[in-house]
């Protein structure tokens, strides 16, 4: 674990990309293969299952530290990270461990299978043999929450430098449903097994947001446009007589969307489609909330299938007849996709995401204005001559979202953030007026600058009216403009509405609280946009 801890420390100490790549590349060259594989797994979000509840960990840590549990609980929000809080309160280690990362991962994997007293004994022994960063990392790994400031892109770049294998090729090899238990470093990275490639998706190409209108993109004639659908991005693969559905987060979602099994009947062998999964009724998408219910279920009850049936709105063809089309220009891929979809029966869950015709940018702006009515959240712009790239790359794909809806609301509760935002108050609850009462209607966490978060944190500390555990009720004094993408009726919320993607657009220092919006204003938005 010492080598892995040293890597983590190097990554954690710097914000510079080059330094991170250097540290990773050195690790991928020098560390034992099993450790490299685990590191790739952890950095690509393949975390071990949580082997012990956090409640038990808190109890055991407080007990070992000789502290009352309440005192441990008071420390946690100040530190902002459970693994770190535990590492800090425990007494110094009395021994050291020479076990490697993969040894520790095996130990952690075995924890789930043993009885609780044994589990406790093993965890206490681990704490006693690990100090500082190693102890913190062990805690991160057993709580299943391992994250470090390294994107998959950055890791892939470092792997590429260490192995000499092309980045895009590596990105592809790393996709899919593998764990360190099912593959070896050789099998995954150095000499991949062709059979394992059957279900493997292509890395998704991700768009950037257009900031000030599309004019800067040049001539409108070079671009194709379609609606930006508000569902979940999905890649549908038909290979070897089977089908696979992958999320952008590389999660295999095949079983969650049984409707898409029909793809086997309608699409030929060796087809890969990129599109958006949407809950769909007749000719329009259902609100995202309907799809949300589907996402959270691993298996779908019949009632839900009938209530919120899904379709795949297809917009790109990545593989045809087993041939990788990603280097083919989009216009050509699109033509092939349209041919493939021509004549699909109406009961098919596969739909084409239609192109929006436009002669100039003005016409596209008009089409965009109609997006909300079509159940979309804006338009996508894709360069007709561009290949299908991997990851978020500026240049060929752009999203031009609708301007958000907004209301001015009063901050009434505040809670400290986690990780980098620990000790700062960053999670707020906002309210609107209902007569002379403030009714909470949304939470928001983002949109302010670090300086603004620091300022509001100082204010929160000095203007707390009541504390409910980590939550503080504050004086209703500050107004924020809350921007959001959609509004829906919600019987679960006191205000009767639920917002989609709420965030703080601006701190309205100029606005007195009396001038914040009202519940009636929200209901009017619900009537016009819900």
């Amino acid at each position: 674990m010492k080598r892995f801890a040293a890597l983590f420390t190097a990554l954690d100490r710097t914000t510079k990309t080059t330094a991170k790549v250097d540290a990773l590349a050195a690790y991928f060259t020098e560390a034992p293969e099993d450790d490299r594989l685990w590191t790739v797994a952890l950095l690509s979000g393949r975390r071990p299952r949580r082997a012990v509840t956090t409640t038990r960990l808190r109890e055991w840590a407080a007990e070992r530290a000789g502290l009352p549990l309440w005192l441990f609980e008071e420390c946690y929000p100040v530190v902002g990270d459970l693994a770190e809080t535990i590492a800090l309160v425990l007494p110094p280690a009395t021994g050291t461990s020479t076990a490697s990362l993969s040894d520790w991962m095996a130990e952690i994997g075995a924890l789930a299978a043993v009885e609780e007293p044994e589990r406790k004994a093993r965890i206490l022994a681990a704490w006693d043999g690990l100090d500082g960063t190693e102890r913190f990392l062990f805690n991160k790994l057993i709580t299943g929450g391992f994250r470090v400031g390294v994107s998959q892109k950055l890791m892939t770049r470092a792997l590429s430098r260490a192995t000499g294998i092309d980045e895009a090729e590596l990105a592809h090899r790393l996709m899919g449903d593998w764990t360190p238990a099912t593959v070896s470093w050789q099998g995954l990275i150095e000499a991949p097994d062709p059979a394992a490639a059957l279900s493997r998706p292509y890395p998704f190409y991700l768009a950037y947001q257009v900031e000030d209108g599309p004019e800067a993109l040049g001539g409108a004639g070079d671009w194709l446009a379609e609606y930006k659908w508000d569902g979940i991005r999905g890649q549908l693969i038909v290979r070897g007589g089977e089908h696979f559905v992958w999320s952008r987060g590389e999660e295999l979602m095949t079983d969650r969307f049984p409707e898409l099994v029909a793809a086997r009947d309608f699409l030929p062998e060796g087809t890969v489609i990129d599109g958006e999964i949407l809950a769909w009724r007749v000719d329009a998408p259902l609100p995202f909330a309907a799809l949300q219910k589907r996402i959270t279920r691993k298996t779908v009850p019949k009632k839900l299938l009938a209530e919120a049936p899904v379709v795949l709105k297809a917009y790109d063809l990545l593989e045809q007849g087993g041939r990788d089309l990603r280097q083919t220009p989009l216009a050509d891929r699109r033509a092939r996709l349209e041919d493939l979809f021509a004549g699909l029966p109406a009961e098919s869950p596969l739909r084409l995401s239609p192109l929006l015709p436009f002669g100039d940018w003005g016409a596209l702006a008009e089409a965009r204005a109609g997006a909300r009515a079509a159940g979309a959240e804006g338009v996508m712009l894709k360069r007709a001559g561009a290949p299908y790239l991997a990851g978020r790359k500026k240049g060929d794909w752009w999203k031009w979202k609708l301007d958000p809806l907004s209301v001015d609301a009063v901050m009434i509760y505040a809670q400290a953030g986690h990780g980098r935002r620990a000790t700062l108050y960053t999670d707020f609850t906002f309210a609107v007026w209902d007569g002379d009462q403030l009714v909470p209607f949304t939470k928001a966490y983002s949109g302010l600058t670090d300086a603004e978060f620091r300022e509001i944190t100082t204010w929160v500390r000095r203007n707390t009216l009541q504390r409910f555990g980590p939550v503080r009720q504050v004086k209703p004094e500050h107004v924020f403009e809350i921007a959001f993408e959609g509004i829906q009726e919600s019987p679960r919320h006191k205000s009767g509405v639920a917002l989609r993607f709420p965030r703080m657009a601006r701190w309205r220092r100029d606005k007195p609280v009396e001038e914040a919006n009202t519940l009636a204003d929200l209901r009017a938005l619900l009537a016009s946009h819900g």
Binding site: W70, L71, V79, E84, L88
Partner: protein, 335 residues
């Protein structure tokens, strides 16, 4: 009547008619040390230790300041007062007040570890102890300073070997001089920001030995000092002032650096856990050694620390201070 009471102007002694570290103008103020939240302007008479005086004069200008040596008892009205080393910064004191045989001690800010510059902390027996608790949570545990300085020295030497400047952010009064005295000055030149240099000059003038420093001015030939250590207030590190050093390594030295969240937010290369306040164990030791049964907690995680002390059998209360919320408000820089 209590030896000390807590008023909206600060801690007050009715028997002697004086205040300790008051935050609003008063007639007679006893000052524990020169930091801005303890030594405020506008009082008619000041009383502090002799080594605390130069910095107070430097910061507060022409004040009516009387000085007293450590441990020297002095009668004020019906109270007997004396100042005792707090180990926080040079000249810092705990203030002992005795009225009719009852002894109360105000800690000011303090730390137990000897830093080589400040007069080392001395426990004072008391019936009641008013203690700061800036780091009054068991997550705060300081490593011995020799270990911290070994880390700083190695980091500086590594940067110097690559020809880079090492920018270290630290509070201008106290922490900066402690760093100066503790680093291996043979590694290379040490440069200072104006705010740090001003305090160094005051301390040198009072006879405190500090390594040679080069004040950074617009005329300073930086190339001639390549690989140097630059000491600056934390706020200067993010600003335009720091840019003239090129691609430098940056770090901060503060007790708050114990928290990864704070370290990451500072976006510096390194955070060194070095504080002029007592850590959790230090606070508990200091309180135990006073022998006090009553403890008043102030400046920090007061409600948590009070509850802990009550569970340990103390009669503990919270003292509210003006203009203050919780610890992190006291500028993460200062601690």
């Amino acid at each position: 009547m209590s030896v000390l009471t807590f008023t909206e102007r600060g801690i007050y002694c009715p028997a002697g008619d004086f205040f300790i570290d008051p935050w609003r103008p008063v007639d007679r103020a006893l000052i524990t040390h020169g930091h801005a939240d303890h030594a405020r302007p506008g009082h008619r008479h000041y009383l502090a230790t002799a080594p605390a005086a130069p910095v107070m004069r430097h910061r507060l200008g022409d004040i009516a300041l009387e000085t007293v040596g450590y441990g020297k008892a002095r009668r004020i009205g019906d109270a007997t007062v004396s100042f005792h080393p707090a180990g926080h910064v040079p000249g810092s004191a705990q203030i002992r007040v005795e009225v009719g045989g009852e002894v109360w001690v105000v800690s000011g800010d303090y730390k137990l570890e000897e830093d080589g510059l400040s007069e080392p902390f001395e426990p004072v027996r008391a019936h009641a102890f008013i203690s700061e608790c800036t780091f009054g949570l068991p997550v705060f545990k300081w490593a011995p300073q020799a270990e911290v300085f070994a880390g700083i020295n190695a980091w500086w030497a590594g940067n110097a070997a690559r020809g880079r400047f090492t920018l270290l952010g630290a509070y201008a009064l106290g922490k900066a001089q402690r760093l100066l005295a503790g680093v291996d000055a043979a590694t290379g030149p040490i440069l200072t920001h104006g705010a740090v240099e001003a305090t160094c000059a005051v301390m040198r003038a009072q006879g405190i030995a500090l390594p040679e420093t080069v004040p950074v001015t617009p005329d300073t030939d930086l190339k001639a000092h390549a690989g140097g250590l630059v000491l600056a207030p934390p706020s200067a590190l993010g600003g335009p002032w720091a840019r003239c050093f090129g691609p430098a390594a940056t770090g901060f030295a503060s007790g708050w650096m114990a928290l990864r969240g704070v370290r990451r937010r500072r976006a510096a290369d390194r955070g060194f856990v070095l504080s002029d306040h007592a850590d959790w164990a230090g606070l508990n030791t200091a309180i135990r050694e006073t022998g006090a049964e009553r403890v008043f907690v102030t400046h920090g995680y007061t409600s948590v620390f009070r509850r802990w002390l009550v569970e340990q059998g103390y009669e503990a209360e919270i003292v509210q201070t003006a203009f203050e919320g919780e610890s992190l408000d006291r500028a993460e820089d200062e601690a």
